[in-house]
Amino acid sequence: MKTKYLTIVLLAVSLWGCKAQIIPVEQHHSYYKKNGIEIPDGAYLKDVNNLFTKFLGTWKGSYNSNFYEFRIVKNTKSFLGIQKDELLMRYKITDANGNLTENTLSLPNDSPFVLKSGYIAETGSYVFSYIGRNNKCGQNGWVFFNQTKNTTNKAKLFLSVQGESYPICDTGPAEQILPLDWIELTKQ
């Protein structure tokens, strides 16, 4: 009987020890940007304060005669020894004539063209890492998505171009297809 109790106690202690350290996801950026603190192995960057909820859903708007649809979902990924809650963004762009410019809506989570690897900025915006299909000629950067304060169905978005170009680019700098200035969006 004593052995049984001892086993239970040891198991409980082990499980306590194995419990992952949870870090609020909004602190991720400040961890390395401000404090230079390494995220410990096994940590879970978790949306404990439900900050992601306001970003989720389908958002539509127009900019320079193009129509944009953005779909944002939540995902939990495991990488390099940690777990992280993050947002994924897919999008569809059509021009004034209804011609399709780009559509990533059906791409799997691991596609580089699904926006991810983001963080919550000090402004409250969610900042997505962006890679376009013409990445080699400069379709890359950060997409800032800001859900308008005191509303539930309004948001705005723009692309800050990184523009990193690669030696294999032989067609010159790519045209950017995401809005370079704020686009107003309405939740559907």
Binding site: T123, G124, P173
Partner: protein
């Protein structure tokens, strides 16, 4: 019942017989092994095995930053050992002690290949038949084994110190007899610092180096710990270190230089045209457009074309064969011009090499006839970094297109707060090419000299910084 008892006795007898036979057999084996050992106390290392041994050493040193050997000769001479039919494999080398004549000596002793670097400084009083001078014996890493002063064939002084901290201290300070004085304090060695650093000088004054010869025991410190007493192996076997016949040497363009990226980088920082670009670009990181140059093989610099409104520089369309490398800026984080509730949206920049930089660097290395000249430098407000290549260019294979690495690259820089740690782990896990060396160049406050640190990963995947001395 009787039959059972009989069988048991028979079994016991049989067991005893088998045991005896086994014992005899083991005894024979022991004897033959002993004989074998005696026969093989000293054995020749063939030229082929000598080359394999040194290639293996050079490969292991390609990741090292503090090379004692500067260059290894291209010939192996097999030299006589007295009272033995075995030969000593001798390879000429250059060490950091430029004033000493040095050779690697390879010999198999008791079944193991032993190597030492044997260096001599000959005094003017030496004659054809009588040696006067200094002898330094180290391992291939430059760790001190023995040193002697010999006057007219007599060993007049011998250092006995084996303290590792002293050896490391000597190496770190790269002590060599550059001053060429006689120390003026009774120290018999032209490398005066040895007298101050090493523990003991024993004057033995024994005629142990007649006619330019030293015993194998003294060369390899077998059993005697480098002293005249307690000799076990090679006591009566001598090698003539004055013999230059067939010793080969360094012929132009054939010596096999050992890469030392620290030395190359320090020499680069001393180069006026490079440092001018380096300092010019250090004033450009606060701008919103990247700036940079490629360095051509003739040492001239060509400005890189900005593209994408200056967000990046074009490395396309360049003939990598004609380049030594490139130097460019990565900008500071910048305000995008968009504001939310009075707060600016900030575009963050990774202030270290991008995948495009790494791929361009490797392509230049791959097409270069001399990788010692190849580099990539990135200038940022939080530190300047240089890449150097010490690996085998034929191993630069299987690379994906640079843009295919961006997703993984961002994951690594997202995961680790240290850019260096994220970058080095990205190189290890995704680029997978040995020999890419990362250095950080800093100029301490109030100092006019640059300091260089080599950045590597330790066994736990964390960044290890070493000073380039």
């Amino acid at each position: 019942m009787m039959k059972k008892h009989y069988n048991q006795r028979l079994n016991v007898i049989l067991l005893v017989c088998i045991s005896f036979l086994l014992f005899q057999s083991c005894e024979k084996d022991d004897t033959s092994a002993q004989l074998q050992l005696e026969l093989n106390e000293i054995k020749t290392v063939s030229p082929e095995n000598a080359i394999d041994y040194l290639n293996s050493f050079k490969k292991s040193k390609s990741k090292s930053l503090k090379n004692y050997l500067v260059a290894i000769g291209d010939t192996v001479s097999m030299e006589n050992i007295t009272n033995s039919s075995e030969k000593l494999a001798v390879i000429p080398v250059k060490t950091i002690h430029g004033n000493l004549k040095s050779r690697i000596l390879l010999l198999e002793i008791e079944g193991k290949v032993k190597s030492v670097v044997f260096s001599t400084k000959t005094y003017d009083r030496s004659t054809k038949n009588s040696f006067s001078g200094e002898i330094l014996i180290t391992d291939l890493e430059g760790n001190f084994i023995d040193a002697f002063e010999i006057i007219e064939d007599n060993i007049t002084a011998q250092y006995l110190s084996r303290r590792k901290d002293i050896t490391a201290n000597l190496q770190n300070r790269r002590i060599a007899d550059d001053e060429g004085d006689n120390c003026g304090d009774g120290c018999p060695f032209s490398v005066c610092s040895w007298c101050g650093e090493l523990e003991t000088v024993v004057v033995v004054a024994t005629p142990s180096a007649e006619n330019y010869t030293l015993s194998i025991d003294l060369l390899y410190s077998q059993g005697s710990n480098g002293t005249a007493d307690g000799c076990e192996v090679g006591c009566d076997n001598y090698w003539n270190f004055g013999n230059d016949s067939g010793g080969g040497g360094f012929t132009n363009n054939t010596e096999d230089k050992i890469d030392n990226p620290c030395e190359e980088l320090k020499a680069q920082i001393d180069d006026a045209s490079y440092i001018a670009k380096f300092e010019e670009l250090n004033n450009e990181t606060g701008k919103q457009k990247e700036t940079g140059y490629v360095e051509n093989k003739d040492g001239s610099f060509t400005k890189l074309n900005p593209i994408n409104n200056g967000h990046s520089l074009s490395l396309g369309g360049l003939d990598y064969k004609s380049l030594n490398g490139f130097i460019h800026t990565h900008l500071d984080d910048f305000e995008t011009g968009k504001v939310v509730d009075g707060r600016p949206e900030i575009n963050q920049i990774y202030r270290i090499f991008s995948p495009a930089d790494v791929i361009a660097f490797l392509n230049i290395a791959k097409q270069s006839a001399n990788t010692n000249d190849v580099y990539a430098t990135v200038i940022t407000s939080s530190g300047d970094y240089t890449l150097r290549f010490t690996g085998d260019t034929s191993a630069i294979t299987g690379l994906k297109s640079a843009d295919d690495y961006l997703e993984d690259y961002k994951q690594y820089l997202d995961r680790y707060s240290s850019l260096e740690r994220g970058f080095l782990n990205f190189l290890k896990d995704h680029i997978k090419v040995d020999g890419i060396q990362l250095f950080k160049i800093t100029k301490p406050l109030f100092s006019s000299d640059y300091e260089v640190k080599a950045k590597t990963l330790d066994d736990k995947g964390k960044v290890d910084s070493q000073d380039c001395i």
